[in-house]
Amino acid sequence: MLNTVIPIAYALVAFAFLFSFFRLIVGPDAPDRILGLDTLYVNTVALLVLLGIDLGNPIYFEAALLIAMMGFAGTVALCKYLLRGDIIE
């Protein structure tokens, strides 16, 4: 069962990845692109979790954790830039 579900899941997450990337490239405004990047990060977390289950190796967990953290930091910095220019003031 898992063997059929996982490829489907991969495909769904891959499409999610694609959509986010589409928004990132197309924009039109900077917030759209940042949102695209942020979602791309979250999609990546999903991808990594799937990979972990697929390969039966828990070693990808830290990467997922870090992507979640770093994605957030990046989004905060980008938004702050749009709002204030000077991100650390």
């Binding site: 979790v49 989004t75 702050k80």
Partner: protein
């Protein structure tokens, strides 16, 4: 049995992930697009993480550290969304709804 539970979780998770991003691609203004990733995607990844936790817990040792990522995502996704919306309001991106008065341009934190 466990296989079925896992499969459901994985499928649900990936479908929500998919839908969240689909909204991002499909909806027509920034503010509506913001909703998909904030909710659906977050939940989707949450489901996948729970699936992972179950998957690795049955192999032997209890594996609950995925909870942490879930927690983290649930704490940060709204903040990201808030900041994005604030930025969008600031640079006045196109909106389907009437945007509120720019009262935020007065500092909220006098410090």
């Amino acid at each position: 049995m466990l296989d079925i539970l896992l499969s459901i979780l994985i499928l649900t998770g990936s479908i929500f992930t998919f839908i969240g991003s689909l909204g991002l691609a499909r909806l027509r203004d920034f503010y509506t697009r913001l909703h998909g990733p904030t909710k659906a995607t977050t939940l989707g990844v949450g489901c996948l993480l729970i699936a992972s936790a179950i998957h690795f817990s049955v192999d032997g040792d209890l594996s609950l550290h995925e909870v942490l990522v879930t927690l983290f995502l649930f704490m940060t996704a709204p903040v990201s969304a808030h900041l994005l919306a604030k930025a969008a309001l600031h640079i006045q991106v196109k909106s389907l709804a009437t945007t509120p008065v720019q009262e935020a341009d007065t500092p909220t934190d006098p410090a």
